[in-house]
């Protein structure tokens, strides 16, 4: 028996995994999208009350104000080490770090490498927007060759500053890393794929399989000096060729969680 009478139904609203706080992120900043996807996944998995997040230093430094769950704020780059300590003494909790490119790929390069190498059973959300946002637009380890920043005013000169680091490619080489993928937040289709990857990464942790990381190509309209929409186009035109999307490591141990 079915009831075909039409009634108004709630299709989408702010997830419970987010607090009611208004974020400090600039208009159109994709940090907000990443936060939302994380909160949606945590809600859908029903793990909000057993999840502990670790915030970085950088634009997401106040993430603990925005996520409605237990949170710690790490020193710059040390979130994977802090997550290691937390997870080792609380193995039944879901522990994730949320890190930008300066935090993860520059000052915290050692900590992320070894957390991945140990197969630490944590999930890392890596926001790559090719620039330092919080300090006002300086060169990041992921800044593209030729990209202008406030510390590479003439564009990143690889003779002087070297080349960008591709963290998915690097970490996927490590035996301890079981799920390492790169996604992008530059349009709706890719945002949907990003959410699936985040879900998969959390499922990997729930199954105790080891280190999982989702890199999200993200925008920084303010420090890139463009509108929010132009910034999304910039991701597509400039970042995708340098940081190809894809599954860099999907361990055979990972069984599909059954879609989302």
């Amino acid at each position: 028996m079915t009831n075909k009478e039409l009634v108004e139904s709630l299709i989408y609203t702010k997830p419970e995994g987010l607090t009611s706080a208004v974020t400090h992120y600039c208009p159109g900043c994709t940090h907000g999208i990443a936060h939302r996807l994380l909160a949606e996944v945590i809600d859908e998995m029903g793990v909000r009350e057993e999840t502990i997040g670790i915030a970085p230093v950088g634009c997401a430094v106040f993430a603990y104000d925005y996520f409605n769950m237990d949170f710690a704020e790490a020193a710059h780059g040390r979130a994977p080490a802090m997550a290691t300590g937390l997870k080792r003494v609380s193995p039944d909790k879901v522990v994730f770090t949320y890190q930008g490119d300066g935090d993860l790929a520059s000052i915290g390069a050692g900590e992320i490498l070894h957390a991945a190498g140990r197969g630490e059973n944590i999930t890392v959300i890596f926001i790559n927007n090719a620039i330092y946002g919080m300090t006002g637009g300086q060169m990041a380890p992921t800044t593209l060759p030729g990209q202008r920043t406030t510390s590479t005013p003439l564009g990143r000169d690889v003779e002087m500053h070297g080349f960008p680091l591709r963290m998915c490619e690097i970490l996927s080489q490590l035996d301890g890393a079981v799920y390492v993928v790169r996604r992008s937040l530059h349009n709706v289709a890719n945002i949907r794929k990003a959410k699936k990857a985040i879900r998969q990464a959390f499922e990997v942790q729930r199954q105790g399989l080891g280190f999982s990381m989702v890199e999200l190509l993200s925008s920084c309209p303010t420090n890139w000096g463009m509108s929010a929409a132009e910034a999304l186009n910039w991701i597509e035109e400039h970042m995708l060729p340098a940081y190809p999307l894809g599954d860099y490591k999907v361990s055979p141990a990972i069984s599909k969680h059954g879609g989302n």
Binding site: G85, V89, L113
Partner: protein, 357 residues
């Protein structure tokens, strides 16, 4: 429990285990590595956490993470390694999570050497990391004290939600002597973790462990809270030992291994009729300023002996407030003073009193 012959590094590690330490994160460095090795064997046996980190920087941040979960956790290291931990210690202090650290000091600066030193006094006792905070610092002079103070360190860290550092030197870490280990305490059950800890926000508002107070006015309120806690610590937690001070005309102030050496020299000087005694501070923060000041009102001269270029002597001078002359004798670079050297210095002080008198 009977006394047994124990090496300092092994003794404090086992003492920590018996104090209910649930997790140890560290990095090998001489002269404290036996502690890490002991932990690597014992912690897994007991179903607890041992992890050799990729660096001291990572180790202290793992400690920070585990402490945020509300468990008893520690690390140990030696001078250069402790320098690397200073960032993490500042965050830990700024987040008010309880952490125990043992620093088995060695010669410096820089890579220095692996011989015993007290050269970290200024760094450890005055805070070490950036910002306004002070760890409780306890300085043992024997393996037994190293054991007892390590156990006490966990209680103090939890009582005040602060960093407690046991400050010893390489000779104490490496030395073997008879000592008694404490009974095994029960590890805190998972469901008894403190209410501030990160345990998952089940049926309560989320907990946040952070050291950020972006509004200066609020940061100052937090700073004042830390200061108030320190004031409480300064009232409650001063510890020192006195030897033959009742009738003393000369007081020697020395901590840790230097204090132990001075004790031998004081006994020898007494045999020569010199009225000298020893004040051995055990809590270096909070420092026994008041006791040193009263001593200055009693004696005619004070001498400070340290295994460094003169660090604690500044605290002694501050306490003495110019009431009597304060002299200093120090050995550096990993050199340990002999009782005879100290005795000779005591004689010099006696001679200066005789001339002045």
């Amino acid at each position: 429990m009977a006394k047994e012959l124990l090496k300092g590094n092994v003794a404090f590690a086992e003492a920590a285990i018996r104090a209910g330490c649930e997790a140890y994160f560290g990095y090998p460095i001489t002269p404290q590595t036996e502690a890490l090795e002991h932990m690597s064997k014992r912690m897994p046996e007991l179903g607890r956490v041992f992890l050799q980190a990729e660096s001291e920087v990572a180790a202290i941040n793992m400690v920070y993470g585990a402490a945020s979960a509300g468990v008893r956790v520690m690390s140990s290291s030696s001078s250069p390694g402790v320098s690397l931990m200073m960032e993490g210690l500042s965050y830990i202090a700024g987040s008010e999570v309880p952490v125990v650290l043992v620093d088995i000091m060695r010669g410096g600066p820089g890579l220095g050497n692996i011989a015993p030193s007290q050269g970290d006094y200024n760094q450890i006792v005055k805070g070490g990391g950036h910002g306004d905070y002070r760890p409780i610092v306890l300085a043992p002079a024997t393996v037994q004290e190293l054991i007892d103070l390590t156990v006490e360190a966990f209680d103090l860290a939890e009582k005040y939600r602060c960093v407690v550092i046991v400050l010893a030197d390489g000779s104490l870490g490496q030395m073997m002597e008879p000592a008694e280990l404490p009974p095994m305490q029960v590890v805190r059950p998972v469901d008894k973790r403190p209410d501030w800890a990160l345990t998952g926000a089940k049926g309560r508002d989320p907990n946040v462990i952070t050291s950020i107070y972006i509004d200066p006015a609020i940061e100052e309120v937090f700073n004042r809270k830390l200061m108030a806690k320190q004031a409480e610590i300064e009232v409650n937690e001063i510890r020192y030992r006195e030897v033959l001070l009742d009738d003393a005309e000369i007081a020697v102030v020395a901590f840790g291994t230097a204090g132990r050496i001075v004790q031998s020299a004081v006994k020898a000087a007494r045999e020569e009729g010199i009225r000298v005694g020893l004040l051995r501070p055990i809590s270096l923060y909070p420092y026994p300023f008041e006791r040193v000041h009263r001593l200055a009102e009693q004696v005619q001269a004070i001498m400070v002996v340290e295994m460094n270029g003169g660090q604690m002597v500044n605290d002694v001078r501050m306490a003495v407030e110019g009431l009597v002359p304060v002299s200093f004798y120090g050995r550096m670079g990993g050199m340990v003073p002999l009782p005879d050297e100290v005795l000779e210095e005591i004689r010099k002080v006696q001679a200066s009193i005789d001339v002045a008198g």
